[in-house]
């Protein structure tokens, strides 16, 4: 199961596991794009990954301390997420599943909004239509549902002439994230059918992290998941999802092609969930320490660090990134502890847009009921 990470001949990889620049044959067509990445961008990629790992560790701890109801760790999947999110243009729309913490924060979503969701304060938490959130849509917990929403959004882009005009500065695309488990859901298949039928400007970004809670990817598919796209008439590519440069390049090209009117594209990013599925889960019950060690050697952050060191990055840079990430995580902790409670009346808000008599009646009943206790005390 793990051998594919090293021996899949069709894997786009730029950095070897030890961080040396060693493009696979499949990476050849992406090399001009890789070469165009500036030093500042390389540093940003690294900083993004370190920052989200610190945030993720902090959030996991907060859950252990009873501050969050649940946490889905992104530990190990940083490169796939950072590469793809940094490849998107500002006008693109991003539809996450529920683990894409750095995808959303790169687009501008405040990490505390993700915390609020997992703390049980909201079912959404941020406004995808607010420009400060960079067109990052809210999390979706029902697996694969968001692939259809993204496809519908892409259909809207086509109908409104917002894409495929030939102006890359203006053309829009959508990228939708889902996992190897979700790939078995009917909605993902229907999304691929609709996307191809309506030629949506869309990238299906599958993070194959090898485990759908306790069920291995081999139970989801007998063939590499990347091959499924061909059945819908969609070009697809398999990338080393622990290689941020390769993830960036394949996403960038796929989005450019989609945006230019060439239709949907699929990417399977081969990565690994180093942590639990969520904090409710115990991965020691279903996977081996050998497997975890195998993937630890392919850690996306260590790999990128060695690459940057090989290019002469100074130790001070890494120290600075670590310190900034620690401060970021500390800030999340402070702000989490400052989060207040909720007004029960809030549950009646926004069930409908127009007033609804039943909801209004129940809101009033609860208010009167609670007020009756206050009167009793007076």
């Amino acid at each position: 199961m793990t051998d594919e990470a090293d021996h899949d001949p069709a894997l786009v990889r730029v950095l070897a596991a030890d961080g040396t620049f060693d493009p696979s044959p499949e990476a050849e067509r992406y090399l001009p794009m890789i070469e165009a990445i500036t030093d500042a961008e390389l540093e940003t990629f690294y900083r993004d990954m370190v920052t989200v790992r610190a945030f993720d560790r902090q959030a996991t701890n907060l859950q252990r301390q009873g501050q969050l109801a649940l946490w889905p760790p992104s530990f190990g999947q940083e490169a796939a997420q950072v590469g793809s999110a940094r490849a998107a243009r500002p006008q693109d729309h991003l539809f996450p599943s529920y683990r894409e913490h750095v995808v959303c924060t790169i687009r501008g979503v405040d990490p505390i909004d993700i915390i609020r969701l997992m703390r049980g304060l909201t079912h959404g938490g941020w406004d995808p239509t607010d420009p400060k959130n960079g067109n990052a849509h809210i999390y979706t917990l029902v697996l694969g549902s968001q692939t259809l929403h993204a496809t519908g959004y892409g259909m809207g882009m086509v109908l409104d002439g917002r894409t495929g005009t030939g102006d890359p500065e203006r053309d829009e695309a959508v990228i939708v994230y889902y996992g190897d488990g979700a790939s078995s859901q009917g909605d993902v298949h229907e999304a691929m059918v609709f996307a191809n039928s309506y030629n949506t400007p869309q990238v299906f970004f599958l993070q194959n992290n090898h485990w759908a809670i306790s069920v291995p990817v081999s139970t989801q598919s007998r063939v590499p998941l990347v091959r499924r796209a061909a059945g819908y008439g969609m070009p697809s590519v398999r990338v080393d999802g622990n290689d941020v440069l390769a993830s960036y390049a394949v996403s960038r090209l796929a989005l450019d092609e989609a945006r230019s009117g060439q239709g949907p594209r699929a990417i399977e990013a081969l990565t690994y969930r180093m942590g639990a599925h969520t904090t409710s889960d115990d991965p020691t019950k279903y996977r081996t320490s050998d497997e975890e060690a195998f993937w630890a050697q392919r850690d996306p952050i260590a790999r990128m660090r060695r690459y940057l060191e090989g290019r002469g990055a100074a130790g001070a840079f890494f120290d600075d990134v670590d310190a900034a990430a620690a401060a970021y995580a500390d800030d999340v902790r402070v702000r989490t502890n400052e989060l207040g409670g909720l007004d029960p009346a809030g549950m009646f808000a926004h069930v409908y847009t127009d007033p609804h008599p039943l909801v209004e009646q129940q809101r009033q009943w609860l208010a009167d009921y609670e007020a009756s206790f206050e009167e009793g005390r007076a």
Partner: protein
């Protein structure tokens, strides 16, 4: 002259045409709705008039239809989805109940989801399995959805326009046995708001309440009762969620008796809910328990048995007699 006589299906068609003319982000989507005009021809001519970018013959995938409609709504469109038959809505049930119904709430009101799901429903057409069902309770049980069902061409014409204009998701149930029924449509003025119930016949002894195609049966029963000297009032619920209890409760306070008629199975049904609420609100006016006449709690039977399954005027009258016997 702004009053026209037309069948229920043409009234829906005319209402949708008018909605599409007034807002170019109103879209129709569904299986066979374009060139064919839908299996009931409700969308006939719309693709010819508005083009295949606004009247979409979709792939055959109900979850895909509703799921992409949600995305289209996010992108600023007002999609009207046609589900071909009642029994085929369930592949889309997840998108309707876990997504569409909840997304306004999950976005904290920042994004409207003006999606209409049109579903031809109910029996009386002698069809085969999965083509004659009444799934309304599944949707009325789900917060975030509104559910409506017109019973006359005039209501069909206006309610579809109101549903499309609503910022909330609406399950729009079309009693398919009524598609060919003709009636007057006032093209200039709507009779009632979308979420109002309506007294369609005045009476003093028993209040008959129902929705969709059952309203016709209730009116038949009321006419038969009259010949026996029993005066029945008939109320068309029209809006299944929210229910407008005012006219129903007022009527029961006057008559002291109520019978609810519905094609759907009775257990945990709309009739059960309305019966319970009317009992709470009009308890001291009631001379008899609120009675329900429903389809049986069995799978909708093979078509040759639908006559035995579906409540007809006689079964309504049997309940009327029981109510009067208290």
């Amino acid at each position: 002259m702004s009053v026209d006589t037309m069948p229920f299906s043409r009234a829906l068609n005319a209402g949708m045409r008018r909605a599409m003319q007034s807002d170019d982000h109103v879209l129709m989507m569904g299986e066979d709705i374009g060139r064919l005009g839908g299996v009931f021809r409700v969308t006939e001519g719309l693709q010819a008039e508005f083009g295949d970018r606004r009247v979409l013959d979709t792939p055959l995938a109900e979850s895909g239809i509703v799921g992409t409609a949600i995305g289209l709504a996010m992108a600023g469109f007002r999609p009207v989805c046609e589900i071909q038959f009642d029994g085929f809505v369930f592949p889309a049930f997840d998108q309707i109940t876990t997504q569409l119904a909840k997304l306004t709430n999950r976005h904290e009101g920042r994004m409207p989801f003006p999606v209409v799901i049109r579903i031809p429903y109910g029996g009386h057409i002698g069809a085969v399995e999965h083509h004659q069902e009444s799934p309304e309770a599944y949707f009325t049980h789900t917060a975030g959805l509104r559910v409506v069902s017109p019973s006359t061409p005039n209501d069909a014409y206006w309610m579809i326009q109101d549903a499309i204009a609503s910022p909330d998701p609406i399950v729009f149930l079309e009693p398919k046995s009524r598609y060919w029924a003709k009636g007057e449509v006032d093209l200039a003025a709507r009779a009632l708001p979308l979420h109002a119930s309506r007294v369609v016949r005045r009476g003093t002894d028993v209040t008959l309440v129902g929705h969709g195609a059952m309203v016709t049966v209730l009116l038949q029963a009321a006419a038969l009762a009259e010949s026996e000297g029993i005066s029945c009032e008939v109320v068309d619920v029209r809006s299944l969620s929210p229910v407008d209890y005012g006219p129903i409760v007022d009527s029961v306070r006057r008559t002291g008796r109520m019978v609810y008629g519905q094609e759907a199975p009775g257990f945990t049904s709309l009739g059960s809910e309305i019966a319970a609420t009317v009992t709470e609100q009009a308890f001291f006016s009631l001379e008899a328990p609120v009675l329900r006449v429903s389809g049986f709690d069995v799978p909708f039977p093979a078509a040759k048995l639908e006559g035995a399954y579906l409540p007809d005027a006689d079964r309504i009258l049997e309940a009327v007699d029981r109510a009067l016997a208290y």
